[in-house]
Symmetry: C2
Subunit: 586 residues, 2 copies
């Protein structure tokens, strides 16, 4: 038991100092997170008396567990339904914020003469606001329930998704030095595919498994199962070369659809609090105060850029999406800080060894300063709006007013058009999800080909025979989803035929044309699907002759199993909808 | 972020397999703990497919955190008040169990031809029953509220204390090879002193600090503070060369007196569950199944010895302490297993490198087997009692009956005698606690002398002057407690004078003799206290002449400060009582 004493001592020092500093910061009405970072600086190697940490590697590892639990909790709070509700506004605001801030950050970096990689990472660091800080500030100010807060939370959710895309792209850029538009599209496409498949498969299986375990009413078993899923999925994600943060977030979002969400959140909160405290302390450990003095200029400039840039980009985004001036100002003022995600991006740069070491302390300093300002900015939003409204020249104010009126006139009335649109959108989403599953099946088959061939080679000696078996197996597994795609395409085609062919023009051919359209579209589309599948499964595609044979066999099988395929898909779809609706009642 | 992947993979494997096996064991209605150990064996290096753990050192370190949290939770459930209630019965039963089982274990070890250290550790491993298993088994059987369960919990509490004494003694024996009676007494005396002082100082300060933090209603801050106290105290204990398990248990017992106990237990439970799962899995990791086959004989013998030995020793102990046959049998059947403490002792032996490697797997195997039997044994207690009662020869049954009656006749009636006894006991306890504090003050002064003299040497050049300052300072700090001791001694002397001098015999001298006794006892006793202090502070005791000077100064100071000393002590005593009673209302 004696070799762990250094480690226990580290934990003791971290927790004891964190406890004291935290209480102090709470008395001073400052965010606890700043307290942790301050504790880390006190303990750290750059400040007297001396380095109090012995086993820094283990502490860093525990800090990384903090990232996992932070992202997992974020995922638990994420909700597909909430996202659909605030949808458009949040998306416009978040996107305008991220694009503008990356550009501003990059330009500032170049202006200071930093290299392009440092500048790019600086831009990425400034792009994402801090969910933790905002949620804490709003709940301390008692504004969590107000309308603008809902928009802010929506922006934060969209930001989380875009941030994950950014993490993936940044890793790619960091490893290859640059990124072409093609690579970016493929990378993001793969990410989207992976996320869709994970969410669908996860929501179908994980909440069910959790329900089963939760029946035992043992908190311990539920916690261990939740942790098992969490780390297991993180491992899978890491093996696929995505970041562990993405894995933790996705599995959190999947578990958010469990009806035992409240219990899970309750169980995971202390674990998250412990490890996230360690994570924030490790940030402080890495912070060299002398760097802050050396880089006081850039820090000041970047802080001002973050506050002004976010107010303008996010506020303007919200306004352009149709919110009134006061709400937009409040939204902009709420998100004007950077936080945990910036540290994650900064440490990504450090661990990939592509950024300079001064970037990390700058991120921490800017985060600390902007975090300090957040509550004051939120409170200053309303007075500022009033003053701006008074100071604004009349023509400008009129223009803004006209824009709002024009937007309001655009809102679709609850007419047939809207229903048709929502029906079409629904079918398209369903087709996309099913196609994603089909693509995932064939991709997995391609990836697993080298391993599978080791086993298959015992019975099948030629490469072609193995390909036939693998590709055929993938095809059979994908059959229910392909059938579903076909049937959705049929519905879509019927809908399109109904809308596009005007009886007044087509006259007595109306029926014939409609039949032709609704018959043709699915067949043409299915041919496209086949091309997609062939492209994705290039590695295991059998030669043409054999492939036709396999396809014929599959067609034969399909005539027998059509009903079964329809049934199994319907069951899965109902299960998915039930899981999603169960929480709605909760 | 990439160097932590091996570690994440380990956690993923541990948690995923632990989750599955746990659910399985729960379905089979077996204790979850066995599931964790089985998961460890599956993952471990001795079973196919291969060793799934990469970073075993970090996992072991986390497992040791599991011990800390297990012992901390045990301390939180410990309660000084509960202990006073079941007092005598629990103490008799636990002591007879521990003594008998150590002896049985030692003899079995010698009989198998093991060396004396292995045999001793085997005895210690068999001595302590498993709180976790018993609490789980009793609550699953719905017997937690019954009378015998209360006695069982009392036994477990006493066992915990004695186990800690055993840990200290075993470490001593392991390091020196043997232990003399004198060393054992000094070791246990020091332990008792340390525990008393920790509990008094801790209960005076920690719950107050927690109350202050808890006011903020932030679970995160409370958790971090609790962890800070926990690890900080563990570190102190480790630096004093006691085991970390003792530290965690003591600080838990201290926090058990906080009025926020329920909240703390709630917060700490998930953290404990996570780390204790890792701890039990690491036990499985160390388990080599082939050793189990090789040592099947000893395992079978030891298992039978544990079950029979505990039933006989604990049951008989409870019976001798005045419980009826049925209750005694139930008590004996409940405690007939070994568990987490045995693993702690086994790993102590391994880490001190004094025991053979086969001891650990044997402990695990015996624990697994006896744990499996526990629920069946508890259920079998009543039928067995009936059968035994029928089979028992009449004379033996009569003897038992007579013993019970005799014990019942001994019970003190609620008369003046009992009140007098309880008053005396109360005063003696108060004197003992105050003396412990005085002793601790002078001991700390002695220990800190080498460090203090570095600072003092700037102003005081002679050794004697330094001694005068140090000893004088210790004396001044100890004054309130010395005054308290003196005043309690006065009360005690008055009481004794009242009781011991019979007016019928002493006649008209009654008053004079009583005055003499009540005046003399405190003075004589204080001289004894002075000798004790002088012996404890040998290292910093000034030469005789100077010491008399210091004592005279202290006496002068005392005439001025007497009232203040009385007041400060009264304040502390009230604070202590308030803290202890606050929870009582809770």
């Amino acid at each position: 038991m004696h070799h762990a004493i250094g480690f226990i001592q580290d934990l003791a020092v971290i927790m004891a100092i964190a406890g004291v500093v935290t209480v102090l910061f709470h008395r001073l009405r400052q965010p606890v997170v700043l307290g942790y970072i301050a504790a880390g600086v006190i303990i750290g190697p750059y400040t007297p008396p001396f380095n109090l940490i012995h086993d820094e590697a283990t502490i860093q590892t525990l800090g990384e567990l903090g990232v996992v639990f932070l992202m997992f909790s974020l995922g638990l709070e994420f909700s597909l339904r909430k996202l659909f509700k605030v949808g458009a506004t949040a998306f416009v605001a978040a996107l305008s914020e991220i694009v503008l801030m990356i550009w501003v950050g990059y330009e500032i970096g170049r202006w200071f003469g930093w290299n392009s990689m440092d500048s790019l990472f600086l831009g990425a660091m400034l792009a994402i606001s801090s969910t933790t800080i905002i949620v804490k500030a709003l709940s301390e100010l008692g504004m969590k329930g107000e309308h603008f807060a809902q928009i802010v939370f929506g922006i934060l959710i969209v930001e989380d998704i875009l941030a994950i895309a950014m993490l993936v792209l940044l890793s790619g850029i960091a490893q290859t030095g640059s990124v072409s538009a093609g690579v970016a599209v493929v990378t993001l496409g793969k990410l989207l595919l992976f996320m869709t498949v994970s969410l669908v498969v996860g929501i179908l299986t994980v909440p069910r498994a959790l329900n089963y375990v939760a029946k035992a009413k043992s908190d311990e078993m539920l916690l261990v199962t939740v942790l098992g899923f969490c780390f297991g999925f993180c491992l899978l994600v890491v093996k696929l070369d995505y970041s562990i943060a993405l894995g933790a977030f996705l599995i959190g979002a999947i578990m958010a659809e469990s009806k035992h969400l409240a219990r899970i959140e309750h169980l995971i909160a202390p674990v998250r609090d412990m490890f996230s405290a360690i994570f924030f302390v490790t940030i402080g450990l890495l912070l060299n105060p002398t760097v802050l003095v050396d880089y006081a200029g850039p820090i000041a400039v970047i802080t001002v850029a973050v506050v002004l840039g976010k107010i303008v980009s996010c506020g303007l985004g919200a306004f352009l999406a149709g919110k009134d001036g006061r709400t937009s100002m409040r939204v902009g003022m709420s998100v004007s800080q950077i936080g945990e995600f910036s540290f994650i991006i900064a440490s990504l740069g450090l661990s990939l060894k592509v950024t300079s070491s001064f970037l990390y302390p700058i991120a921490v300093a800017v985060s600390a300063l902007t975090t300090l300002f957040t509550p004051y900015l939120i409170r200053a939003a309303d007075p500022l709006t009033l003053r701006l409204a008074r100071a604004m020249p009349a023509p400008l104010a009129n223009t803004f007013g006209l824009y709002s009126q024009w937007l309001a006139s655009l809102a679709p009335a609850a007419s047939g058009g809207a229903t048709l649109f929502s029906m079409t959108r629904r079918i398209v989403v369903q087709i996309a999800v099913n196609l994603a599953l089909v693509a995932a099946i064939f991709l997995s088959a391609s990836y697993s080909a080298p391993f599978a061939s080791q086993y298959l080679s015992r019975w099948l000696d030629t490469d072609n025979a193995q390909r036939v078996v693998l590709w055929g197996a993938a095809l059979v597994i994908a059959l229910p989803f392909l059938v579903a795609v076909y049937r959705k395409l049929e519905s879509l085609a019927l809908l399109l035929a109904e809308v596009s062919v005007d009886p007044a023009k087509a006259g007595r051919f109306t029926r014939a044309i409609r039949t032709a359209i609704s018959g043709l579209i699915p067949i043409v589309a299915m041919f496209g699907v086949f091309l997609l599948v062939a492209a994705l499964s290039g590695g295991i595609l059998p030669p043409f002759g054999l492939m036709v044979g396999v396809l014929l066999c599959a067609a034969l099988l399909l005539t027998v199993l059509w009903r079964w395929c329809v049934k199994i898909h319907a069951t899965m779809q109902i299960a998915l909808r039930e899981t999603l609706e169960e929480t709605r009642e909760h």
